[in-house]
Symmetry: C2
């Protein structure tokens, strides 16, 4: 059983940090395309993508941004947080095999309205900034631990003729 | 064969619009949780989620935000766009069965740097604003049509004991 910890507004300090890493796979791109409906061929069709300035398939920008949300919702402040807003600047493309690391740092605490502003940086395995921007989050009222859900298994059935397999 | 149209910087005008709709399913939440790694029980565990201010499971905020990206990448400006940035304000939770509609409107054209600023609004089936914020996008150099990729089939294998099925 995996437990997720959360940190309350009172227990967070300016400078409190959280981190989360994930390596982009083919599977991640397919699942993101399905759940979002974003079938832009830049993400699936190598032949098309090679003809663009990206010179090959890249992840959806919002996939990288989603890792920020993952870090906020499961690491810091963790479950019980209320996500109020997010600024995103997309700096670099992400390709299959790239490992992204989210680094969050609390930069501001609003005592009256009980929210924090978090500096968010997502870097690739070369240390290059991929996505950045501030998040505005209302942390939970009390620090706690909660059991992580176990997601169902997912099978992808490849169709050899599909454009995304080029 | 489905074709996706794109609109170049020159062919976009202040006031140009694009729209995209999607209804949130159980499947969408599971796929988003898997691809992002965001297993916050708020999205999967009905018992836990009922104990929060949301009074039940809700979608990942970034799932709703992802629909904005889908509309930008597949509708307006469409394939060939370069996503430079996005502001997001999360206004309301989204539940399974809710139908979200993204409405994009070009509000600014930067002729020197060839990007547009797009007003983005995501509303639910009751017309209530769920997510909003400006996007900064570099449209393609020429308007075109490109074949939409067909994604592979995805099967979800439910495990009766999983917390997410509560």
């Amino acid at each position: 059983m995996t437990m997720l910890k959360s940190t309350s507004f009172d227990d967070l300090e300016i400078g409190s940090q959280g981190t989360f890493s994930k390596t982009l796979t083919e599977r991640d791109i397919v699942l993101f395309g399905d759940t979002s409906g974003d079938i832009n061929p830049l993400h699936f069709d190598e032949e098309y993508a090679s003809s663009t300035m990206f010179k090959g398939r890249v992840a959806h920008g919002m996939w990288s941004a989603g890792l920020i949300s993952t870090c906020i919702g499961t690491v810091m402040p963790g479950p019980g947080s209320i996500y109020l807003g997010q600024e995103l600047v997309f700096k670099l493309p992400v390709r299959i095999g790239d490992t992204l690391t989210v680094s969050l740092t609390v930069k501001e605490k609003n005592d009256r309205r009980k929210f924090v502003v978090i500096d968010c940086q997502v870097r690739n395995q070369h240390g290059k900034l991929v996505v950045c921007g501030d998040a505005k989050v209302m942390p939970p009222e009390v620090s706690a631990e909660v059991e992580a859900p176990r997601l169902p298994d997912i099978q992808i059935e490849h169709n050899p003729g599909d454009a995304w397999k080029h």
